[in-house]
């Protein structure tokens, strides 16, 4: 049963037709066509699918797309200003916080949400905030350094 709805993603309204059980990550990737958000474990464990709903990080693999109607969804594509990367995104490149890149969109969204609430976190707070994001490449050290660099750049 298709349900006609409008999803607001990165400030843009997208008319979509969704099944009742379509998850938000599938709607973002398949119906809207924004493929920055990754489907990793698809089981609410790895954080690769992290998006913000009304400013708060949420695992989009475990959230029904139709529940996001009426909310503002922000994906990794919404963090840059056109072609200009955010401080946080640049810091990931500077620090070597990206290896295979699969976890990166989720890491960026969680870190972005943290810095919005807490512009000057300790490294411990950064690591806690990234607790729901798994990375199998970097060992996390360079990711944490990147978030710390971004925090220093914007304070």
């Amino acid at each position: 049963m298709k349900h006609a709805a409008t999803l607001t993603v990165n400030g843009m309204a997208y008319p979509v037709e969704l099944e009742g059980d379509t998850t938000l990550v599938r709607a973002i990737r398949d119906d809207i066509g924004l493929t920055g958000t990754k489907e990793g474990c698809d089981d609410c464990e790895c954080g690769a699918c992290m998006v913000m709903i009304d400013g708060r990080p949420v695992n989009s693999c475990t959230y029904l797309a139709l529940q996001a109607v009426g909310s503002d969804v922000t994906t990794v594509e919404g963090l840059a200003d056109g072609e200009t990367l955010s401080n946080l995104q640049s810091a990931f490149l500077d620090q070597g916080g990206v290896q295979c890149g699969f976890c990166t969109p989720g890491m960026l969204v969680s870190a972005h949400a943290l810095l919005r609430e807490n512009a000057d976190p300790t490294e411990e707070e950064v690591r806690l905030a990234l607790g729901g994001n798994l990375c199998r490449c970097t060992g996390y050290t360079k990711i944490a350094s990147a978030v710390m660099q971004a925090a220093k750049a914007s304070v």
């Binding site: 059980d21 609410c44 695992n59 475990t62 959230y63 943290l114 806690l128 729901g132």
Partner: protein
Amino acid sequence: MGDVAFHTATTVDEALALLGDGSDARVVAGGSDLIVQARHGKSLPGTVIAIHRIDALRSLTSSGDLVVGALTSHATLCADAGVRSNWTAIADASALVGSHATRNVGTLGGNVMNASPAMETGGPLIVLGASVTLRSAAGDREVAIEELWTGPGKTSAKPGEICLAITVPAQPAHTGSAYVRLEYRRAMEIAIVGASACVTLDDDGNVTAAKVALTALAPTIIRSPAAEAAIIGTDGNDEALEAVTAGASADAKPISDLRANEDYRRAMAGVIAKRAVAVAAQRARGEEFPIPATPVFMKGSGQ
């Protein structure tokens, strides 16, 4: 997954009307349990009723009794000053749920109705004497939390009932509570074993009342009468705490699974219960014992 009708209810009456007798419909709050279960073979019902826009269920009152609207998120609960100081075990538990993302969408009502014997907040609700308000077309009824859970994933709620709120009574003076989890990692963890304690002291520091609950150690979260008897009437000395250890291990009914075997769980039941009682007693004496740290995402009002 299949052909699923979806409705968003904005009032409890609307949700109840859509739910009907509940035979082929379910309500969804944050979705973090329902959708994972659907992916693991428990198919969704024919109709899903989203209740996350019912703002009336998002209230949190923490003066006098604690009244938690069913949609209150773990992020909100573990940040609430009243919960942290007067019903501290609940703050301990909510702070340990999943990750920041899980705590943003996961609700206390969803947690309670999902009835997992490993849920973090269940033990604290038992030792603090919580009850649940359920509403159906036939009216409201109040169920003691220990009578709600009948098995793993099973409750005594009827299919047409919706959880409105969880009420936790104000606690006597010199009362402290704690939830302690044995975990292999901090984020996105399921309790290997967990224990909750609520301890009340008299003016001389002797334990006049105590409740101990064991998590992930039986088909439902259970009380440990032996651990409770071991601490009541003592001043919480080391000998009494050792008796708590033995009592909790004796009362545990653990299973073996991929996270731990039965013997290890039984041994750890005692250790973790002892720690929970010791921390609860420490808090009852007015000494600080930190609530697990969460990142600064605490401003959300719950989704």
